[in-house]
Symmetry: C2
Subunit: 249 residues, 2 copies
């Protein structure tokens, strides 16, 4: 398969527990870091409640606007796990037992333990492809460009390896970080000039507090290492002239 | 001012560093927890890049659909801080120096230190109201129902106290958590029945791994404590019958 230069994705976090503040989402960071490493840029993240109409409407927007959509959450056995049924409705597909998934879970559980709650976990949109789960049995699934993963971070992480062959990324997005003992306002105007001269490098500026001291991390991102290097040289010339200290972070 | 029963909000996280996975967002959880405590329900969170058109378009959707919108990020002194100018454009307002803000920062910095970069931080939409910043001087601002806060979590937290009188919440959303030594599939069907009988209580079910053991937290949420209590009694009767252990979490 030939590589597109730019491949993008949206992440859709489904769950009231994130919106109430009860649970700190970490799946966005896990997914975004992994996607970047395989050349997929995350355009947008949305967090929405466990409400069927909201899931359907949001998914139908995101799957048209992005090469890939990754959902997390709502594929467990309880009443508030409505992602699989909502995804089926978004695609206008039957919601039914996945035969291969059924066999996997039947073999995973001890005889008599594959109860109704657990069986709910292999109800999926018709013709969904399974995403295998090496941690706890119950698979995720994909349908067209939508990949549905669980909300529990350790289980989600364990399933990413199995996705590699299904996601075709573009050029990997490379980055370089230069951390400085300074404050943003001291470097803002020069970094603006350097950004204006280096349009193909995305320069980000992020203040930090570490070990009681202020600093700024300058992050250079591009698909082209040579452009990052040129931009980095300009920044390093500037901080040398200004006698700004580079710090490890 | 009389209280509305339901008051809702959206959170708009602005920043490439979240979308690249480099930075773990914690502002959503901070804001959502605080908003819940004052009776504001978070309907939706979106994370978007530092791109002017995206900020304008997204803000113009969210501010019409929600009682309040809280933005985080992009109000510092560097070239990638474009929130204030984008918000001005979203409202069709002039982007200009805020006179009161100017005085605050002029007094905050030592003579000669209030440079061009720092002055950028008090360019705001015309007639914006300041949100004072007890940590690092530079204020946030609000315009109509949109409140613009910084991205640095410790600074954002320090500014919430000053917002209390500006946000009118509805009835506080109360919650009760019952953590159990079980797995979701063992309780799923009964919890579904209890949810169906208690429509005014939102019941969430969240598996956890703690100290090497599996468990499930059942979270009951409602504006009405007596309804939470009724629902909680039903759940406790069930777990007593089933001899499921309650655990501290």
């Amino acid at each position: 398969m030939s590589k597109k230069t730019k491949v993008n994705a949206a992440i859709l976090i489904i769950g009231n527990e994130i919106l109430s503040g009860r649970t700190q989402d970490t799946n966005t960071s896990t997914l975004a870091t992994w996607l970047n490493s395989i050349g997929v840029k995350v355009n947008e993240v949305r967090v929405i409640p466990d409400v069927e109409k909201t899931i359907i409407d949001t998914l139908n927007i995101l799957r048209k606007e992005n090469d890939y959509v990754f959902t997390t959450g709502g594929i467990g056995p309880t009443h508030d796990d409505i992602t699989a049924e909502s995804v089926s409705k978004a695609f206008g597909l039957k919601y039914e037992i996945h035969k291969e998934g059924y066999k996997i879970l039947e073999a995973y559980y001890k005889p008599g333990e594959f109860n109704e709650g657990r069986q709910k976990m292999i109800w999926m949109p018709q013709d969904a492809e399974l995403i295998l789960n090496p941690t706890s049995g119950a698979p995720g699934f994909s349908i067209e460009n939508v990949f549905c993963l669980p909300g529990v971070p350790s289980i989600l992480k364990s399933m990413l390896g199995g996705l590699k062959n299904k996601i075709v990324g573009g050029e990997p997005i490379l980055s370089q970080t230069i951390s400085l003992r300074t404050v943003e306002s001291e470097i803002a105007s020069t970094i603006t000039e350097i950004q204006n001269k280096n349009k193909d490098v995305e320069i980000g500026s992020y203040p930090f507090f570490h070990a009681g001291k202020l600093g700024v991390s300058i992050v250079l991102r591009s698909e082209d290492q040579s452009k990052i290097n040129d931009c980095s040289s300009e920044i390093k010339d500037f901080i040398k002239r200004k006698k700004i200290e580079i710090v490890d972070r």
